[in-house]
């Protein structure tokens, strides 16, 4: 995505030059531009674009990774409609995203606003909040698994203290609670990263705006909604798009923490794609599921773009 946008941006820069200045300069600029994006673009082309384009064929074929994919029309797509595992994975991915995205965004924004003030030791707190993001996901998931252990985990010991030892969730062993646990860990992990992005955005807002507003008698709440949020729209938009795509693609965390279980309660689309391809050797059908995930991300991103454009006007 970033490569694509940067490539698009470069060619946009070249285009007006081309029409304005004489042709030689235009051609030279174009050539230089192409040379600059080449290292990135070649990698993108070979490693991402070609496979993605191929996917559109593989998704309509039967293929065991050996030999050539055999076109089989809509068979895979019909199969999707009565594949309960796929449906479970689809619903889980949506549920996860719908809860995880607003939660992460809200907490990241809150933390960023808090750490943008003259709080004592804020550098320390910024580091602490960013720490989970640079921790190895496997190690973090292992530790969380121990914390969430239904019998002897620290979390349940605390909960039992409040419920008088009577009740505590089953977490990883319980279909209803496993997803909650996954969302908690995912939010814990990603909040720091998005907080840094939002923090960077907050620091670009000129202090004069707040000064002027307070002279005019605006309170903190009004300043937040009338100055901070509008000025933050570009940053928030970027954060929202990356967060959405990341959420839809979630794989590593559930793979290590729950392996999709118990049952299919935390099975996500990306993991199902992997499972179908590498456990069942059914690359054609896994291509079909990949296309669904692709379409899902695409549609949501387009809606976000459309909404952002509308708001900017």
């Amino acid at each position: 995505m970033t490569q694509a946008t940067s490539a698009a941006r470069t060619s946009h820069v070249a285009a007006p030059d081309h029409s304005k200045a004489n042709k030689a300069i235009g051609r030279r600029n174009l050539r230089n531009g192409l040379i600059f994006i080449a290292p990135n673009f070649i990698g993108f082309l070979i490693l991402i674009l070609i496979p993605v384009v191929q996917l559109f064929y593989i998704g309509f074929s039967k293929w065991s990774a050996f030999g050539d994919p055999k076109f089989n029309g809509l068979t895979n797509w019909v199969r999707l409609t009565h594949d309960s595992n796929f449906q479970a994975a689809f619903v889980n991915t949506i549920v996860y995203s719908v809860v995880h995205i607003p939660l992460t965004l809200a907490i990241a924004f809150g933390l960023a606003v808090l750490l943008n003030t003259n709080l004592k030791g804020r550098a320390f707190f910024r580091t602490v909040a960013f720490f989970p993001y640079i921790t190895s996901i496997v190690a973090a998931a292992q530790v969380w698994n121990m914390l969430f252990d239904a019998k002897s985990g620290v979390i349940n010991q605390i909960i039992r203290f409040f419920t008088g030892g009577a009740w505590a969730p089953g977490w990883m062993g319980d279909t209803k609670w496993a997803m909650v646990a996954v969302i908690i860990v995912a939010t814990w992990r990603e909040v720091g990263y998005f907080m840094i992005l939002i923090l960077a955005g907050l620091q670009t807002i000129p202090g004069e705006l707040y000064e002027a507003a307070s002279i005019d008698g605006a309170n903190g709440w009004q300043q937040f909604w009338k100055i901070t949020v509008p000025c933050m729209r570009p940053t928030l938009f970027f954060v929202l798009v990356t967060l959405t795509i990341q959420s839809f693609k979630i794989l590593d965390l559930t793979l290590v923490m729950t392996n999709g279980g118990p049952g299919t309660s935390t099975l996500m689309l990306a993991q199902y794609i992997y499972q179908v391809a590498f456990n069942r050797q059914d690359f054609g059908y896994s291509g079909t599921v990949s296309l669904v995930l692709f379409a899902l991300c695409m549609i949501v991103t387009l809606i976000q773009f459309w909404y952002n454009n509308k708001k900017e006007k």
Binding site: M1, Q3, A4, F44, L47, I48, L49, I50, P51, V52, Q54, L55, I58, W63, S64, A65, F66, G67, D68, P69, R79, H82, D83, S84, N85, N145, F148, D149, A150, G170, M172, G173, T175, I245, F248, K249, L251, N259, G260, G261, P262, G263, T264, S265, A270, I273, Y274, Q275, A277, F278, R280, Q281, D282, F283, S286, G287, S290, F294, L296, C297
Partner: protein, 450 residues
Amino acid sequence: MRKVSPLFKAAAFAGAAVMLLAGCGSSNNASGGKTEALDENAKTTITFAGWSLDTTPEFQTLADGFMKDHPNITVKIKQYSADDYDTQLTSDISGKSQPDVFPIKNLQKYYTYAAESGGLADLSDIAASYDGDKNIDVSQYKLEDGKYYAMPYRQDSWVLFYNKDMFEKAGVSAPDGTWTWDDYTKAAEELKEKLPAAGYDAKSVYPMYQHGWQSVVQGFALSQTDGAYDDYFKGDYSYLKPYYERALKWQKEGLTIDWNTVNSTKVQYQAQFGTQKAAMLPMGTWYAATLVSQQKSGDADTFNWGMAPIPQNPDAATSDTPVTFADPTGLAVSSNISGQQLAAAKEFVKWASGEKGSEALAKIATTPAYFSDSVADTYFGTDGMANDDLSKKAWTDHKTNPENPVGAGTNTIQDVLNTVVHSGIMSGTSSIDDAIAKGTQDIKDQGVLQ
């Protein structure tokens, strides 16, 4: 653009590379072709795939033993990752860059490799040379077309490991080779009662340890129930029910660590049995070699142990030969090689699956595929190995069925039986009937039943 899973992209890319290469590469179709006779004087080098070479000495042992017998042939080992072996091998075969000789870890993947990839050479002539030989069983590698594309070099089987000291101290009678799963349960209940008095910690020591794998329940159900192998492709999985009822009972009575804990804390069966936290452990014979070496290195406690025949299905007719399961580990030859290289590769497979290779493996306490008396003597003569009569009987005398039937739908069926049925029942999220019904429906929906 980055929305597809990276793993899938890698595979798609590998696929793209294959298509490009296949277009311009020379097609080298040696599979099914005639093999040149091996010329012992020709200098030949063959490559051989292996994994975790530091902890798995079998590959080096086979290579060294073979090179000693065939001084002009060099066997070069190419190291793979143990966990991702099948994924790596799949991309190598589809890229026609597989090693000359490579292990086939289980039968489930064997079918896909042999029937669909075209990357495996026909080894039917080696199979024919074992005709009528009672010491080796190669039938599991026979495909529907009557051809063989791999030969076994290891034939492990599931047995019951038990801690003799714990049984003795608790005063419970040890396995005698006639046990059914009901006897197993009874012994476990007795141990549960008597172990604390014998000085074992009631909280952390269990009578048995049932590992979390699907095969620990389903492998026995499939191999010990009459007609289950036919039911498997017909979509009737009711044979699983009695085995899951027992598994849940053991868990409920605290005879073993419960499945959720096994998974969330990643319990290792080696530690559980090796540090005397469990008196009985159903496990494959591969564990014997690990236990011997861990007792030497101090990773495991020193205690007396033995292998007993695996308990039998209490609902089936009894037979003298205990029925157990395990997939053979096989060796396949690449279809990309020809001439002397192919002859040498085939000779290596023949050597490794035969008595000489088996002797070499038995010396390092690895269960080979060729069970002659001298191989058994070598195996039980290794230092630290259990060598009572029951252990010998358990190791040599059994009917070993495959872990799952081999066919086009096996990969999918096994996957659903694992993710939906096994995980659903053992985690307690669905009842046995519900999980089996849902799994059956899922398998039907995938369109893989015959």
